[in-house]
């Protein structure tokens, strides 16, 4: 029982992490039907930017005061992620707006390789995993024999707050409405006076900011970062987005938590154990899609010309 509870907690923490990334995936997909494989790298550069800020920009007084250091590195990480995403959108994706549908996929892949290798080459000693500074108090809460790391709690709480705030923003603000309108029907949205370019940039910015925060919290929780964290977690985030119903914000968050839970629970209870936990994620994904082809909260596929 304790083990089950512990695994549930573990799954939720993992899911919270994925939620940060998956929202960017699902929003970008929802609006321009692009599987942005480079989004995982946006997450990764966020964590490296935070590390760099901490190491080289913060005076030691602030370094040692976590409640000052944490917000600063989170902001720095998010800001850099946003910067990278905006540059990416402006110079790589926007010129391809009218290109064949899969062309941007290759661009995304190219950017992904480029960003990984750029960090590896240009971040000092970037080839090896980097320890992440302690910008949040170490410690665990234990109740009923279940251990919850404080950083994990922070991660989940932040994930819930930020994804909730994002939902609220998208659902209520003017730009949010413009976003949803563009996702529904870009041509009509344009006729209604919405500038799709602005909306798309905004989508990238929101997704990247979340991913950047996620990247920093990743470092905070796991205490180390490396150049491949983006790609691997990106794949899972994309999977989560699909599971939840691509284009649906609510679905993305639910999907992320599901993936986290499936991974830990399958490793514990399913045949094959931890060696096959990834397999179970994908088996369940396929089953869900066969019985509910649009994911949990997805709308049915629009037929695109």
């Amino acid at each position: 029982m304790v083990t089950l509870l512990q695994q549930l907690v573990n799954g939720i923490v993992l899911g919270g992490l994925l939620a940060f990334i998956t929202l960017g995936y699902t929003m970008v997909y929802g609006i321009i039907q692009l599987i942005n494989f480079a989004h995982g790298e946006v997450f990764m550069v966020g964590s490296y930017a935070a590390l760099a800020t901490y190491l080289w920009a913060l005076p030691s007084g602030i370094q040692s005061t976590w409640y000052l250091a944490l917000p600063i590195v989170i902001l720095a990480g998010a800001a850099f992620s946003v910067l990278v995403a905006v540059i990416m959108e402006r110079f790589a994706y926007r010129p391809l707006r009218n290109a064949p549908r899969l062309a941007p996929l290759i661009t995304a892949l190219g950017i992904s390789v480029f960003l990984q290798e750029a960090v590896r080459n240009f971040f000092p000693d970037g080839t090896r995993p980097k320890a992440f500074p302690e910008v949040f108090p170490e410690g665990q809460l234990t109740f009923l024999g279940v251990t919850v790391p404080a950083s994990g709690l922070l991660l989940v709480v932040m994930a819930i707050i930020l994804t909730g705030a994002l939902q609220l923003y998208v659902n209520t603000s003017k730009l949010g409405r413009a976003m949803r309108a563009t996702a529904q029907d870009p041509d009509t949205a344009r006729l209604m006076g919405i500038n799709p370019d602005r909306v798309i940039v905004l989508t990238f910015i929101l997704g990247a900011a979340l991913a950047g925060v996620g990247g920093v919290l990743y470092g905070v929780h796991y205490d180390n970062i490396n150049i491949t964290i983006g790609f691997q977690n990106g794949i899972f985030a994309f999977t989560a987005a699909v599971l939840g119903g691509i284009g649906s914000l609510r679905g993305a968050v639910v999907g992320a938590f599901c993936i986290g839970l499936i991974k830990t629970l399958a490793g514990q209870y399913m045949p094959g154990g931890t060696a096959y936990d990834y397999v179970w994620i994908f088996v369940i994904l396929i089953l869900v899609l066969v019985f509910r082809p649009q994911g949990f909260f997805g709308e049915t596929e629009r037929v695109r010309a």
């Binding site: 083990t3 090896r128 234990t142 491949t228 514990q268 154990g273």
Partner: protein, 411 residues
């Protein structure tokens, strides 16, 4: 739009111009340096390296490359190969067999290649072996642990060496696994051990031997789990083995996962030592969360007691390489030195001028190597495996690896 782009481009260009002051790094004599002292009249001979130089394993691969480079530079300074200048040609294998095959083929087209240091992964070596063997180019691996590479696939019943030109200076799973198993269950007195691997050749192979040795010694393996080499969240695995109350965890894999695993174990309340093989014997392991009391093995005697090891570390650090020598640096240094020493011997026996006909003799001479390497007195057995059976167990004490036991495996 266009105008804006042009402006941006202009700004960037202007910035670059300002940044790059009109300097050059011209040096008057390109041949300057200690090389002038040596006779290099017969040209250059190439030592190849095949390792992952990009991507996530590049930390290990670059350590291999740099260490081999160090050996080559030292040899050039010491005029180790009379008449020739040695050059290093390092090729990226992206840790995939296909690319490794292309890298090996590329090196093999160089008529001046004398030997190749590499690869890191056993699967890439499986592809590289026949390509180099076909041209009788000697290959010395600093890191391959799969027993089949030297003893054939049926190594248990009928060990047969598949390629005469293949050697390795690292230790095999068999040897190291026994040492770990015996140490954990014997010296450390851990009778209930959980095994976690990364599912890759090195980790799985080593874990199998650890299990055998530990069980023979009366210990119980309470769990066998697998994580992915890209995983960073090990909470699930830890929660699974924690109720089984292991008093130690063996991790078959490398430090990028082992460090975080050790830390997450502690955080989750599973505060037992983690032990690994030479793949986690790296300072980064401790940086990444390796905790007090964790163990690792490494081949050879500890550097403090072995002058050649200390010399390597000092020389490496003195050269100012961008990347640390990593887990396989010392092996790579030894691998290159094995090739260089044997080359010098072959040349002196064979008339002093390199030619294709000398390749057989080079392979023979490598087999007969006796060298004080960075990991101890190095030689090869009839399969091309290192004869160094000496292993050292290290323990994390006060944030540093300290040797706790040096010895050879007892049957």
């Amino acid at each position: 739009m266009r105008n804006q782009t042009a402006k941006t481009a202009g700004l960037v260009a202007a910035g670059l111009l300002v940044l790059a002051a009109c300097g050059t790094n011209k040096t008057e004599d390109p041949q300057a340096g200690g090389q002038q002292a040596c006779d290099t009249s017969k040209g250059a001979l190439t030592v190849g390296v095949i390792a992952p130089l990009s991507g996530d394993l590049s930390a290990l691969g670059l350590g291999i490359k740099n260490s081999a480079d160090l050996a080559v530079m030292e040899a050039n300074e010491k005029c180790a190969v009379p008449g020739y200048r040695l050059v290093l040609d390092a090729q990226d294998d992206q840790k995939t067999p296909t690319v490794a095959g292309q890298a090996a083929t590329k090196l093999a087209t160089d008529p001046n290649i004398v030997g190749v240091v590499g690869t890191l992964n056993s699967s890439t070596s499986q592809t590289v072996q026949p390509i180099l063997a076909g041209k009788k180019i000697v290959q010395v691996s600093p890191a391959n642990t799969s027993t089949a590479l030297t003893k054939g696939t049926d190594f248990l019943n009928n060990p047969k060496r598949p390629f005469d030109s293949y050697f390795r200076v690292c230790t095999m799973d068999e040897n190291q696994g026994k040492m770990i198993g015996q140490y954990l269950s014997g010296d450390a007195g851990k009778k209930s051990i959980a095994i976690v691997t990364d599912g890759k050749t090195y980790g799985v192979g080593l874990a199998a031997e650890v299990k055998k040795a530990a069980e023979k010694n009366g210990a119980k393996i309470v769990a066998e789990e697998q994580v992915s080499d890209k995983d960073t969240d090990f909470a699930g695995v830890i929660a699974k083995i924690k109720p089984l109350n292991p008093d130690a965890v063996f991790y078959g894999g490398e430090y990028p996962q082992a460090g975080p695993l050790s830390k997450q174990m502690k955080d989750a309340g599973l505060d037992v030592p983690l032990m690994g093989g030479d793949g986690i014997f790296d300072d980064t392991f401790i940086e990444l969360g390796g905790k007090e009391g964790d163990f690792a093995t490494s081949v050879g005697a500890p550097p403090e007691s072995l002058p050649s090891a200390k010399a390597f570390i000092d020389a490496y650090n003195a050269r100012g390489f961008k990347d640390p020598y990593s887990a396989y640096g010392a092996f790579s240094y030894d691998s290159a030195n094995v090739i260089i020493t044997a080359l010098a011997k072959t040349l002196s026996e064979g008339g002093g001028t390199w030619n294709e006909g000398l390749r057989d003799a080079l392979i023979k001479n490598i087999g007969a190597t006796q060298l004080a390497g960075a990991n101890g007195q190095l030689g090869f057995d009839e399969f091309g495996d290192s004869t160094i059976k000496l292993l050292t167990v290290y323990k994390v004490t006060s944030g540093e690896w300290t040797s706790v036991k040096t010895g050879t495996v007892t049957e």
